[in-house]
Subunit: 575 residues, 2 copies
């Protein structure tokens, strides 16, 4: 909803004032909108765009060199008057004629049409190209009845680039019309915006549902479906737009610009997840993707919705689409003197995980370590659901899947390193990095740090003796302690690893074998993990998390104890 | 909320894949994030940024020439691991050292710190500059404890520009630190985002309330207040940030870059309305504003919130802030060969309302027309509230204020034109344009068109006879009919003007004087306006608007009848 305004009646006027103040590098305010603040050396045809306000960057945000010369900016979702269009077009005119371009809406058609008559009456050559990209707003055999949505950007950019290149009005009009003929968009919405001062949104879509083909002012859609996955939406978009491609376009070898547009409340991260599948589907269809755009190009305040636009290029359109432009909200340029980075320059990447020299003894230890990771990964695979269940009681439920993914990745990395004759440290470092990368969350980061710390303690040269293991486990404990802010008694994994490490160190100092010491310490860890469910001790956390966590142990402590027992089994088998 | 995803656990990874696919002109994916896809002729210091995902364009969107060399992109709102930072920094390194820069959060400090140690262990000079711009997150005497929010953009841009300019690592570090020292931000929030797959938003703010100083991941704010007006928020921002300006900065003559940032759901139009007052307040404080930015630079998915950042420039910082850059989401460049447009080139504007030649008879009619506008404006002033009340029952309640504003502007324009010896047509055209510009909404546009049509019918030369008036009213009727889709019987203003015009034409043809004919037609219009409240006829509209409209006439029809009677009074007085 729109929350920030003064008098709602003054909203559009104040918005335009603020926009012009913030964008003085590009635009100057005139009655009815803005025109460019700069001119080039030679006069060009003037491209004048416009429509109601509320669609930023459409329309004022698209005024500047290489794009529009002026924008008539009406009240919220209301066409500018003929007089406003006329004053903007008159100010923008550089003596070579004016092209008016705007989305196909009745009010805009009426007012821009009257402005065109006034321009012509004053002896200025003035033409109009309507944008009609919305495939849902009329059938294929009535293309001229379709509405304009995010395809606005395409037609305006092509027309502006053509004007900038010095074309005459005939040619600018021809190219703008060609751009519109080769542009198609499909939109969906999940909910409408609430205008300044209004009590209710312009329209509603039931929760969990998605309106298909709904317009940017809430014009009715043609269907309503359950909200699909991101990949599902990508497929809906691409299937429809490939079917709707302009007559005569062959998919094989076609070059296309995809523009994935957010209407306001569907944000960049979601758009990128959707784009990922769009990119794959278009590529799979044999289409060459040129210079895609993902962002907010034609919004409707904070309306929850998105649209995909495809511009089917030919050589002329491609050159104009890629030409430089500089406006408040859409810029395209090149910083000179750049070259593509070469693969060889990125090989430093591999160095980060280079396998260095190692002693035979350390390599032998690495092989045991690798087998331990395999056992731990198998164990966590089996227990992932149960760990998730425990975590859902007090936390966010991702502990099980995080440990499963992390240990699986660590297993693969350890096997790869050990198989490449890595020593113990290198093997543990590869495994730790992989666990942190893939495990995610705090537990992934902590396990990554623990394994890297263990590796640093045992090295790639020395044999991994019982004492080295004890020192390594102590280093793991230190890594956990320094990682977060938790202390013993806070009922976290620390409550298991601290007594485990202390007991192991004490038993080894007392002369126990590694297996005996580890066995005893693992029992201590289990008891300690169980104690994290102690009712009294958990009361503090329970207060903030609700009663459900009472009696449930900390999942991090539990999984640590499980790992300790699994490693014990491996040690016994190796013995 | 976040609606579009596949498996929520894969969201960040798929987002990064989609981002890299859409942004291949600028970035290449590597383990843990992205690095630039191009290199310049000479190697530079590498600026590596990063943090959790969910803040686009931070962080991947800021990688490219003139800005960052690489971005480590963690999971949603979670720091990248040390390994991820390390691989990105290693790939980005061009042989002249690495500057790590990121917001001051515990997880990021830990992981970037560990990555820095790894870089140094590999013999690469690596430094760190934390961003600490959020004035609400710690007091003035603990600047180093503050969090980083939208000030990220400033520090990254300055560091990237310094690297691009060829500075060595000492200097890039110094300048990044200087940028952070001279950057302050203040943020507010109205509500939190809901992450993919989550059932609830990260945090809530009660309806109508605003959290002050709340962090971009929902960290607690320091106060909660009623949502102010846009101007009120601007004043809160500016007052706080002027008070928080860096030690030693004199307001008088200071140059400052304001960056007004939307967190996701507070949209461009609202930001511009807020910026309007920020611009005025800063200017009034004696500060020179340089190259402002209004948009989305550091978001939190679709979180409803905004922040203002001020960068207090010195000569070095100004040059670096204005230097060109080219990244997926932030570009700055100049299209060469531009010059500022001169005032004289915009004078064509005035020509649009040039006063042409007119006969004495037409000028005399213009004077009467001008007096009629004065009477109509006074009448609508008196009836604005009542018309608004009627409109609120079935419509949006703006009819009264729209008619008031429109007629007032038309009155002024008509008086100006008639006072400058304009004829009847020119006077009506000025008045109609002013009504459409200022009245707004459909009624403003319709009255504008009606007046322009009436003007075209009577001209600037001929005397305005009774028959000319009749023909002019018929032209007004045609203008209304062609304007929208409404037809007689739809219970709109058409139901009043059609019988009015038809009756007037018939009476004039029958030999009535203008006053007699107009008087009769005005009575017909009143009856017709009243009939728009007919219960049976309104049932169709009532079904979609609720019962309240039953028995209430259409406000457009009522105001037309009122105008008809007011003009009758003027005609009688002139007679």
């Amino acid at each position: 909803m729109t929350r920030l305004f003064n008098d709602p009646d003054d909203f559009a006027e104040e918005m335009i004032e603020g926009f012009a103040a913030a964008s003085a590098r590009w635009v100057r305010p005139v009655t009815g909108g803005v025109v460019r603040a700069t001119r080039g050396a030679e006069p060009t045809v003037a491209v004048v765009i416009g429509g109601g306000s509320g669609h930023y960057p459409a329309f004022g945000g698209l005024v500047g060199p290489g794009l529009a010369h002026g924008a008539a900016m009406g009240n919220l979702f209301a066409s500018p008057s003929a007089h406003q269009v006329h004053t903007v077009a008159t100010a923008a005119h550089e003596g070579r004629g004016v092209l008016l371009s705007f989305g196909n809406y009745a009010g805009d058609v009426l007012h821009f049409g009257q402005a065109q008559e006034r321009m012509r009456a004053a002896g200025i050559d003035c033409r109009t190209v309507l944008v009609t990209d919305d495939v849902w707003s009329a059938p294929k055999d009535e293309l001229e009845r379709r509405r304009g949505i995010a395809g606005d950007l395409v037609v305006f950019k092509i027309a502006g680039a053509a004007a900038e290149a010095g074309h005459d009005l005939d040619d600018v009009e021809r190219l703008a019309r060609l751009a519109n003929d080769r542009t198609r968009s499909s939109g969906v919405a999940f909910g409408g915006c609430t205008l300044p001062g209004a009590d209710e949104p312009l329209f509603d879509v039931p929760a969990g549902r998605m309106a298909v083909g709904l317009g940017i002012h809430g014009e009715p859609g043609i269907d309503e479906v359950d909200i699909p996955t991101a990949a599902g939406l990508a497929e809906m978009f691409v299937t429809k737009l490939l079917d709707e491609r302009p007559a005569g376009v062959d998919l094989a070898g076609a070059r296309v610009v995809p523009i994935l547009n957010g209407l306001g409340n569907v944000k960049y991260e979601e758009l990128f997840v959707v784009y990922r599948t769009i990119h794959t589907l278009l590529t799979d269809a044999g289409v060459e993707i040129v210079s895609p755009e993902v962002g907010e190009f034609c919004t409707s305040f904070d309306m929850a919705g998105a649209s995909l636009t495809l511009l089917w290029l030919d050589d002329e359109l491609e050159q104009l689409w890629l030409a430089p432009c500089d406006t408040p909200a859409f810029r395209r340029g090149e910083v000179s003197g750049r070259r593509a980075v070469e693969d060889a320059e990125l090989t430093a990447l591999d160095d980060a995980h280079e396998i260095g020299a190692a002693s035979d003894a350390s390599r032998a230890a690495a092989a045991v370590i690798s087998r331990a990771f395999a056992a731990v990964a198998a164990m966590l695979d089996a227990h992932a659901d149960e760990l998730g269940r425990i975590d859902r009681i007090a936390g966010d439920g991702d502990h099980g899947i995080g440990m499963q993914r992390g240990s699986r990745a660590a297993d693969q990395a350890a096997a790869g390193a050990a198989g490449s004759a890595a020593g113990a440290q290198t093997t543990l470092q590869h495994a730790g990095d992989a666990w942190a990368d893939k495990g995610g969350g705090t537990s992934g980061a902590i396990w990554g740090e623990m394994l890297v710390a263990l590796g640093a303690a045992v090295g790639d040269e020395d044999a991994v003796t019982a004492d080295a293991v004890g020192a390594g486990v102590a280093a793991m404990k230190d890594a956990v302690m320094s990682f977060g802010k938790a202390k013993p008694g806070d009922k976290t994994m620390i409550d298991a690893i601290v007594p485990f490490s202390d007991d192991l160190t004490e038993r080894l100092a007392g002369g126990d074998t590694l297996i005996d010491a580890w066995s005893h310490a693992a029992g201590v860890a289990t008891a300690a993990a169980e104690a994290t469910s102690n009712l009294t001790a958990r009361l503090g956390r329970a207060r903030s998390h609700g009663d459900r966590s009472l009696g449930t142990p900390d999942p991090g402590a539990v999984s640590f104890a499980l790992v300790a027992h699994t490693v014990l089994d491996v040690l016994k088998k190796e013995d």
